[in-house]
């Protein structure tokens, strides 16, 4: 009898623990976290005039050797100088983009995200679906100046069902950089069509150069920029695909054609370590004069005159070009989101984000990180133009292009972004055809929850 009572007790205790655990896991949807329903600015009325600064938590991956580390440091420094007595930003440094994304997703699973969150690589989706973010509509409605500094297009790119979930802090205009010396020796100029682009590769190879600095590790960034350009310039369907958020069907003629072209590039026209290489390998191959072209954005410009990354005078050898068919990747970053839970921290988070994305923040980003601003009011200083003439060239190229599309990273689900590193080697090794890879991408997208 005692034994049976003991067993029943244990079973009940186990069930209770299980129920409590599951309930606790789902607390992300509790009333406290009902961020979407909260109204912005509600903390102002209750805030007394003089009190201790409101603490907000902020995680950043822009640290150490990150291309935007200087920009981040300067933005926080200037924010503290201006608003330090009102808002205290508690910064936690995560020295890797991927580790940052993982950490935020894990925090989101327990319903406990930082007050200010960068919504990159699918984080925005997780926060929106999990009701863990506060939209900016009310804040922006009260601040026409800030709204204008961001601009309608940038706001529209982060609006869903009328709610502005994040504020873009930069516009990405991405073409490719090329080594003028190598181009001259091979007797070529930046291609205007994809046939010419492939023919340029052949001519560069014949002249003894490696044409492209590609990489398929990490998020296959430099390879996928070219893949995006191949798809985006392939008729109306290709352009539409590259401007669709979260495509679920990759079985399209445009994708298959582009994958076949990428296979050729990876097989014949890139470095031996491209399969599996990280961004640093590709960037190094171009900056060290081992490859003639690299697809990348203006934030790389600083590297060309950095003696730790490039040889002396290398910046003078670099030119910038648009992709064939007079086209360019042009997209707005997801930017910052409010993850704060109380009215007080929400207001403080908004203040910090407003500074980072307003005219002051955009100016700092341009001057310290070569980041393209979202506002046309922010222009490079004379000193910056003199230091980085290629920056001016980039702006001119961007202004001349007529066909625009987004990056693959900004449109696909995060699990698709993660899949490239394993799919490209499969394609190049002949273990799967372009059609099969397209089907795999479709299957992977369907797995996203």
């Amino acid at each position: 009898m005692r034994k049976s009572l003991y067993k029943t007790g244990c079973t009940l205790a186990g069930m209770l623990m299980l129920t409590m655990s599951i309930t606790a896991c789902g607390s992300g949807n509790s009333a406290e976290n009902n961020g979407a329903a909260a109204t912005a600015g509600s903390g102002n009325a209750a805030a007394p005039a003089a009190k201790a600064p409101v603490k907000i938590s902020y995680l950043t991956f822009r640290v150490g050797t990150h291309a935007s580390a200087k920009m981040e440091e300067e933005q926080i420094k200037q924010f503290n100088a201006k608003y330090g007595n009102e808002v205290e930003v508690v910064v936690e440094e995560i020295p890797s983009d991927a580790a940052y994304v993982d950490k935020i997703k894990i925090l989101a699973a327990s319903g406990d995200v930082p007050d200010v969150v960068m919504g990159k690589d699918g984080i925005n989706d997780v926060l929106i679906k999990g009701n863990l973010a506060t939209p900016f509509n009310d804040y922006l409605d009260k601040d026409a100046e800030w709204k204008a500094a961001i601009g309608e297009d940038a706001l529209a790119s982060n609006t869903r069902d009328g709610k502005i979930w994040s504020i873009s802090d930069q516009k990405q205009n991405i073409g490719y950089f090329y080594n003028k010396e190598m181009f001259e020796k091979a007797g070529i100029k930046p291609a205007e069509t994809w046939d010419e682009f492939m023919s340029n590769n052949e001519k560069l190879k014949a002249a003894g150069f490696v044409p492209l600095a590609l990489m398929t590790g990490e998020n296959a960034w430099t390879s996928n920029l070219i893949l995006a350009a191949m798809i985006g310039t392939n008729g109306d369907n290709g352009k539409a695909f590259m401007n669709t958020l979260h495509p679920t069907d990759f079985n399209t003629p445009e994708m298959i054609k582009a994958l076949n072209m990428m296979k050729e590039l990876l097989e014949k026209y890139t470095t031996k370590d491209a399969l599996g290489a990280g961004y640093a390998n590709a960037a190094n191959a171009f900056s060290q004069g081992k490859a003639a072209m690299i697809a990348n954005g203006p934030w790389m410009i600083g590297d060309f005159s950095d003696p730790a990354k490039s040889s002396e005078g290398f910046d003078a050898k670099v030119g910038v070009a648009a992709y064939p068919d007079n086209s360019l990747i042009s997209t707005y970053e997801v930017g910052y989101m409010i993850g704060a839970k109380t009215p007080e921290t929400r207001d403080a988070a908004e203040k910090f984000i407003k500074f980072k994305t307003g005219l002051e923040g955009q100016t700092i980003a341009l001057e310290y990180g070569n980041v393209m601003p979202v506002s046309s009011e922010v222009q490079p200083s004379d000193a910056l133009k003199e230091k980085y003439p290629i920056m001016v060239e980039s702006i001119t190229v961007a202004q001349k292009t007529q066909l625009h599309y987004r990056t693959l990273d900004s449109i696909v689900y995060p699990n698709v972004t993660d899949a490239w590193k394993n799919l490209y080697p499969k394609l190049v090794a002949g273990r799967a055809t372009a059609e099969e890879i397209a089907q795999e991408l479709t299957d992977i997208a369907a797995k996203n929850k």
Binding site: C25, N29, V126, G276, K449
Partner: protein, 291 residues
């Protein structure tokens, strides 16, 4: 006497039991409970019964490949890795030549973090500037260098070589056990005319059964957590050639945002580990001391 001490025993056990419940038992209950749900970050779990497990065993090629790779690595680690460690321990126990120096050098890879070892191998095996390919290029006219981590023919072995030969922990455990064998046994054997080889084969190795069994369990189960070096070097690729269960759990949870399904793989991994430990305990009769 036992009754007198029972209070103390309970008192001293309480903190450990409490910690176990808080740190492990609760996590296990959550893991097991949510493995029967559809659960993604920021949303509440929804009970789906056995759906995750049915999909796992009937319709998931990536899972099958990950489980197979994990199994192969567990076997390799429990046999080759432990054999290398044991051999080294037996040689070092003879205390000949520069054995202390050799022991220290052999220990190096085990005191460096997995990520750093991964980075080191990435550089060494890089087809453009890596030392291995540079040496390969020195021989012959043709360029036989290759992308070791991304070639289907070499990826699995290349990743395996980043940890398989470095068995310093096994060596140290076995060295300690050898040191505990009474010297009188060796003296008797030598008086009877036994050579060093025969002493190793008939005295030392049989007496190491318990510790070798423990090393097999430690080495094998370490493969159930292996993740850092694989992520650094191949990320599970090319294709899914080097994917294992921990990486699959990571990808399913954080990339697919499918925590429920990921936890069902976690439950499978725990079950796999338990069966492996029980098998080893029986195989090596760990705990029994008949010699």
């Amino acid at each position: 006497m036992v009754r007198k001490n029972r209070g103390y025993i309970t008192l001293f056990l309480l903190p450990t039991v409490a910690l176990f419940i808080i740190v492990y038992a609760v996590s296990l209950v959550i893991l097991f409970g949510t493995s029967f749900t559809e659960w993604s970050a920021g949303r509440s779990p929804v009970f789906t019964g056995l759906a995750n497990y049915i999909k796992l065993f009937t319709d998931d090629a990536d899972f099958r490949q990950s489980a197979l790779n994990t199994g192969i690595w567990v076997v390799l680690q429990s046999t080759v890795h432990v054999a290398i460690g044991t051999l080294f321990a037996v040689i070092l126990s003879m205390k000949e030549f520069y054995w202390k120096f050799a022991r220290t050098v052999y220990m190096f890879p085990n005191i460096i973090s997995g990520a750093a070892v991964g980075m080191l191998f990435l550089c060494m095996l890089n087809p453009e500037f890596g030392a291995v390919n540079s040496i390969v290029r020195l021989f012959g006219n043709a360029d036989y260098s290759q992308n070791w981590f991304m070639d289907y023919a070499t990826a699995f072995l290349s990743v395996t070589m980043t940890w398989l030969p470095y068995a310093a922990v096994v060596t140290i455990l076995i060295l300690a056990e050898i040191a505990a064998i009474p010297e009188s046994l060796f003296e008797s054997a030598r008086i009877d005319g036994a050579s060093n080889f025969k002493i190793n084969l008939y005295i030392i190795i049989p007496m190491l059964r318990n510790i070798i069994g423990t090393c097999v369990i430690l080495s094998g189960t370490s493969m159930l957590q292996k993740m850092d070096i694989i992520l650094m070097t191949t990320g599970g690729g090319p294709g899914n050639a080097t994917m294992n269960l921990p990486i699959y759990i990571y990808k399913t949870a954080l990339m697919d945002n499918n925590f429920g399904y990921s936890n069902s793989v976690g439950v499978f991994l725990i079950g796999f580990g338990l069966i492996f430990v029980l098998l080893c305990r029986n195989l090596f009769r760990i705990g029994s001391s008949e010699h």
